[in-house]
């Protein structure tokens, strides 16, 4: 409750929440405002924004409505962002919690695996996964989640390492509590705030990763994606630059909103730091 109040007072968080609400609004209203297939032919190609009242943002190289793609693209970006983030955070928390709480050999093994994932450049690994398993939207989402967890695992582990030697955890052990209960019911709630803040970073990066993949034409071609539209616009960049420019702004604002909310959350959860 306290956190929510502090969040409402932080200008960063408020701007972020307004932007995020806007993007969510776009995603929800897409099927109502643009009931037709956003990837279908809508009109004459390469009409400038506002040149035709039907197409606020104009049309792209193949005559598809850019506004429809932007609105429907919001659904895809948010969905991929949220699902991939949940996946990454879940894997990260479980691995980080177990490694941090038990230490020793278990920690060594889990951290070596985490390091292996961090040693592989995440975008390259994403390319490999897409190359091997195909670029269906489900595959892409899972792949993004799979390359994004190591940092969350490290963060959770670091929190657990400091918390497990705290006296309240030792007190739980002297009471005879089981490990699973200590890990998930006693330590995890205390370790969670920084991880939740970090989730906003993972989500921002997930959205950026998907858009980069789509820009390179390696994401699912059957769903409207902002990155894809930017890629489409490359061929007419010198003259009709708006085809690439508009979806880029959409990505920027979405990622910015997520980051701002994350920052606001951070300030709200660590009021001590903000005051300094």
């Amino acid at each position: 409750m306290e956190t929510v109040k502090r969040l409402a007072r932080s200008p960063t968080a408020v701007v972020g929440l307004i932007l995020l609400a806007l993007v969510i609004g776009m995603a929800l209203s897409a099927p109502v405002l643009f009931p037709k297939d956003p990837l279908g032919l809508a009109g004459r190609p390469l009409q400038w924004p506002l040149a035709n009242a039907r197409f606020w943002f104009g049309t792209d190289t193949t005559g598809r409505d850019i506004a429809a793609q932007i609105f429907h693209g919001a659904r895809v970006s948010l969905l991929i962002g949220i699902v991939a983030t949940l996946l990454a955070i879940t894997i990260g928390i479980v691995i980080g919690a177990v490694a941090g709480y038990y230490g020793g050999i278990i920690d060594d093994v889990l951290m070596r695996v985490t390091e292996a994932f961090q040693t592989l450049p995440n975008f390259l690994l994403l390319l490999v996964l897409v190359a091997v398993f195909g670029s269906d939207i489900k595959t892409v989402t899972i792949a993004i989640g799979l390359v994004s967890w190591p940092a969350a695992a490290r963060l959770t582990r670091a929190e657990f390492l400091t918390l497990r030697s705290r006296e309240f955890v030792q007190a739980c052990r002297t009471l005879g509590m089981r490990d699973a209960q200590i890990i998930f019911r006693e330590i995890l709630p205390n370790a969670l705030p920084p991880v939740i803040v970090y989730a906003s970073v993972i989500m921002a990066v997930a959205i950026l990763l998907e858009s980069a993949l789509a820009f390179l034409n390696l994401s699912d071609p059957n769903v409207p994606s902002w990155g894809n539209l930017i890629g489409t616009g490359r061929s007419v960049l010198r003259t009709q630059w708006y085809v690439s420019a508009i979806p880029g702004v959409a990505i920027l604002l979405t990622v910015l909103s997520v980051s701002l909310v994350g920052q606001g959350l951070n300030d709200a959860l660590n009021p001590r730091l903000k005051r300094r």
Binding site: R166, T174, M177
Partner: protein, 544 residues
Amino acid sequence: MRAVLSIRNLTVALPAGADRPHALEDVSLDLKADEILCVVGESGSGKSMTAGAILGLLPEGVSAQSGEILLEGEDLLRFSDADMRMIRGARIGMIFQEPMTALNPLRTIGDQIAEMFRTHTDLGSSEIMKRVLDLLRDVHIPDPESARRAYPHELSGGQRQRAMIAMALALEPRVLIADEPTTALDVTTQAQILKLIRELQQRKGTAVLFITHDFGVVAEIADRVAVMQSGRVVEEGRADEILNRPQHPYTKALIAAVPPLVPPAPQVVASEPILRIEHVSKTYRKGGLLARNRRVTHAVQDANLVLPRGGTLGIVGESGSGKSTLARCIVRLLDPDTGSIRLGDTDLASLSRKEMRSETRRIQMVFQDPFASLNPRRRAGELVAQGPIIHGEAPSKAYAKAKELFALVGLDPSATERYPHEFSGGQRQRIGLARALALEPEVLVADEPVSALDVSVQAQVLRLLADLRSRLGLSMVFITHDLRVAAQICDRIAVMKSGGVVEEGTTAEVFAAPRHPYTQALLASVPGRDWMPPVQADALLAAS
């Protein structure tokens, strides 16, 4: 004699929203040349704020509102920032509590001392180096040449504090402010540092403003004493006056709370043992694949101890002596490498983790840190009820019992719904005690349970422990570094050093006739050991 530093009617305002409007209120103090003035008070009394105000280093949002701070007649409060920088270090030196964090970890000791000369003088580098060595020699650091080149982490705590003192006195300031300079140190090191400060003060004629919470230290070093409470000076006078004939009720209460170093008459304890610790050892291994990188610490070596039923066994020692490791081995937070820990007929050391979980109800622990030992996200009642619930008690019964325990440890039973941060340090320690007692253990292991508390709160918790012990017939292992506390609460005392038990006996024996040289050294190092806190009936009443 004229005062070198005199504070006149100083009032320092706290930012809006703090628990009180003023950090300091109408504070007046005189520090004369060639004397040590101890400013003593509990946490929140404003004693450290006084030091900050003198140096013009108050926290953000805190500022001096009225009054004067006169250094040899000049009012420091009127000085500009640039002028104050000429004062700091050069005319007023300062030592802090924790020498590890007060020194820059990335620069050598010599470099940091030399910085004083580079900042305030035009001396050449070879002259500076010579003076740095002289200073290090002055503070009796062994091998000054290598200490000069050492980084802070390469020195011991005592040596670091010596280096801090060398730095503070580099430019022979008229005034030295020492803010709890020995609080973070072990008792034997503390004695050496106190001696060093006294020696340098006399040799150089420095006026020392010594801030402390410890009346033992006051008795050891003070010429004059000022007692502070909630931002005011409540009493000021010659050290022997204040220590032996305090006038103000607050001073009386504080002094009455200081445990005397003389143990009370021994209570009768059964000879039948409840806990027997035999040949317990615990070794820590650290480090990599290469054998020479491996570091082996023998934290506990072949410890043998006996706790009689209904008695209290004190384990005393300095940091690194292994006393906390031993305590954690007893409750199996750590697994001892060898030896047995017999609680009645059960050898706790040989139990599997799962078997130990059910035995935990027979032996419980109370922890040191009142802030870290309670999960901040659980209600106080929940924390106390947790133990019985784990061991199969019905939740409703466990919560009802929690309320009873709250009353038992002197807390309001209706406070079970509150979260830990809503309690004071002493109250939190009571919650921790209630949590341990909820399982009705046969043995209670208390690891420095009063070390983080202010002296008056400490006295209350100690009284509670003594009271519970006699009412519930508790047997207790009491870990402490504080010999005064040990003298008051323990029936038997074991002295630990570098992992081994060097001496064990009844408290009266150990205090009256210590056999081991280390025990003798420990006792000789207790600050103010020759001072017997006066017992005053009205003060005892006021304290309880």
